[in-house]
Amino acid sequence: MDELEQLVVQAEREAAEASSVSEVATIEARYLGGKGSLQAQLRLIGSLLRENRPTFGARVNAARDRLAAALAERRQALAAAEAARRLERERIDVTLPGHPFPAGGEHPLSQTEARIKAALVGLGFEFAEGVELEDYAHNFAALNYPPEHPAFDEQMTFYVDDTRLLRTQTTAIQGRLMPRRPPPFRYAVVGRCFRYEAVDATHHHTFHQVDAFMVDRGIGMADLKGVLRQFASTMFGGDVMVRFRPDFFPFVEPGVDYSILWQGRWLELGGAGLVHPNILEAHDIDSETYSGFAFGLGVERIHMIQNGVADLRLYLDNDFRFLSQF
């Protein structure tokens, strides 16, 4: 083994023993650098016989390549090991709870109103905004309530003066919408209503209602039943059945209350009926040619049914433990 051979073996051993990338760099400089051992060997070439020079040069080059490859391999291995160690050092407890972001939420009544709106808009109803501080004329007179009628007993409310009151029903908007344009039309409104009632689990002086009505040629009770079924199916999911029971509201005739069969139970949802011809005629709509229906229901009631809420008071109480469940 000549000196060149010994040099390579020595360098390879050192490379194999190197424990860090920087050590590999030191070894590389020592053997392959400009002042390195192999470079020194190459300088010996001048002292050789002319015919031996190519062979020796080739041997030095081969030795340099071999050493460079060995060093590169070692460097790579060490770098990989170091990277692996570094990643290992960075290991964290992935089971720690995530940093919380502030969580907001919509009130269940808003969520329910949005669903009601989507269902009715899909059925061609155009929503309108009513006022909570309504006048007597719209809340009662325009809805065919005769003066002094006992029907008022169910509609006791809060007055701010002789003519202004807190609306008892979102139906109060009918008189504002009927004159807007000639039939056919389909309108709906959702909002807050008030009645002078003692507050308990199923009664509140403040509650929310949705009211929808349409007027067109040839509208009858069958259209009402069909639209209610479609609406209830969208709201409650699955197939529902609608049942009518005679009831009385001055602004509809015939008047009914309607129930739906949902999950094996009949649930009373609200009142409905055909728009009273007196109301159509009050707006110069020919009640022979045109007829219409109207229906209403409680927003709370829908949410209560769907979520098994038994106490109406929870909605305005705003306990975050309640609200955050929806």
């Binding site: 940093h99 502030p102 002086h205």
Partner: protein, 681 residues
Amino acid sequence: MRLPVEWIVEMAPTGDTADELARRLTMAGLEVEETAESNIGPVLSIKVTPNRGDCLSVVGVARDLGALTGVSLRLPSFARSAGPGEMEDWSGVTIEDPDLCPRYAARLVRDIRPGESPRWMQDRLLAAGMRPVSNVVDVTNYVMIETGQPLHAFDYERLAEGRIVVRRARPGESIVSLDGVQRELSPEMLLICDAKKPIAIAGVMGGTDAEMRSSTTVMLLESAHFLWTSIRRTARALGMTTEASYRFERIVDPAGVVAAADRACALIEELGFGKPVEGVLDEYPGAAPRRRLSVRPARCSAMLGFPVTESDVRTALARLGFDETESGVSIEFAVPSFRPDVVREIDLVEEVGRVLGYDRIPERLPEGATTQGRDTDLSTRMGCARRLLVGCGLQEVVGHSLLASNELDRPIAAGDRVAIRSALSADLAGLRASLLPGLVDVLDRNARRGHGRLAAFEIGRVFRRTEAGYDESVNVAGAIAGPMVGSGWARDTRWRSTDFHTAAGVVERLVRGLGAPSPSLAPGDDPRLHPGRQAWITVAGSRVGLLGELHPQRAADLHIRSRVLVFELALEALPDAQPPAALTPLSPYPPVVRDLAPRIALTVPYESVRRAVEDARPDTLESFELTDVFDGAPLPEGVRSLTLSFTFRAPDRTLADAEVADALAALRAALAERCGATFAV
């Protein structure tokens, strides 16, 4: 109204059990709310709608049952009086105000022997919810429940001249009613009088002056028809509702007046505690022919949605007591006197449908022109605000419109609180002018319940009274106290402490998210808020709301330990979202970011600094941001350092260092001139 099943089926022998009866009545519009037990069997609680006064009796309910089932009724039979007979020797009836009293009938019973009514009658009265009093009173009540006609018994011997005069009260007149209360009367109230004095408030309650006593031997029995609106007004004005007034308000059959009196006399005779005098005094100035109405079977079919034949119409209406008077394309009927609610063809359509059954109505979707369904613009904006605030981590709440007087309740714009007239409860005394009282209350109550994360908003209507009238508009408001998130274990405390500027960030997000220009803030002077930590919010030149820390004095009584930050904006006062301007081309050239750290007196608000930059804005300035605020040593007292980070970029070239330097110099100059800024370097 409570009626024992035993009594109903005695007249309408349908063969139904109590449950079947309850279901049948409910499905026909006489809702049975409850079935209770009594010692004479089940008792139905029936909710009679206000249009069906005719059903406030056993006979009325039986009549509807007969119509629904086709069962013939077994009504009580008794001797009917005809003509005044001997009555003219005893008494007289004068109706001075026939507009309020269309009919008044009187009968006499002599040889009254006061005592108790028989057990079976007491049982029925008790089951119907009435207390047995004496044989005479019990009979009048029994007949009222049976027929719906209220009766009143007077002590004949105490009637001046033995006569009845029906007239309006005179100014200043008063009466002591049977409940012992002195009632001041007004001239729109109808009275029953004798020749001299009032003896009863017509249709509402008797008076003590001619009250039946244990010594009474001759009774005058009143059976009358009063104008329902008059009875209702009187009862309400006097604050009393009686079994009689409740029925009169719902219109009692004028045709049944004499029969009810006869039935009572027959019962008294049968039970052996008095001898009816033959004849009846029947004044009937308001007699009117029965209303006639036509109904088209085709219209019934169209409205009900299923085929209705002529014979369906005839059968249904005949069973309900309507008499056919003419037939053709439409069939004309005489409406029975006990159905004043039936006034138009559509009412007959309903009756036909009710008897045939609403279960026959099919389902159909309207076939007419398609209409465009849509939500309102206001509601769309409310929904947008809702999503933005939820995105900021606030929980939506829905509060009360009715509110006790509260020092936090102030409108954003000028105006007074809207008060509820004669409010019975302080909690319901007025309408909210601001959402803040409710929100602070919600936060406080949740804090009391141990909830740590207190961040809520409400979007709702507020009210105020202005010179122009009442104003109702939609506000959006929020309240935040303490951390926006649970404690967590992170060292980054971004969400764990909130201050004025957190709330300002929420407001900025809200306003910008609604498509309005950035809000600007200026120190405010609202007494509800901390004097040094509050701002008016101005958008596009108009004041739209306010923002600040709740005044420590207002927060002192709360259970909230942290400072409470609130904001409130008039949602409708914000300008409409602007359609997006033409797209700004995306520059392919790199940005240059440079900071300036002007030192500015504490008395100069940041808003002035921002405006100075905006006004001096070089073309190449793409955006700028405040990245640090510092005061204290080593800065001199009264001075703070603001670090502003400017991003420069040109659409068409890479900026040269000199260009950026020039732009920065211009900004420095503007800050120095406008804000008195100095620069350390």
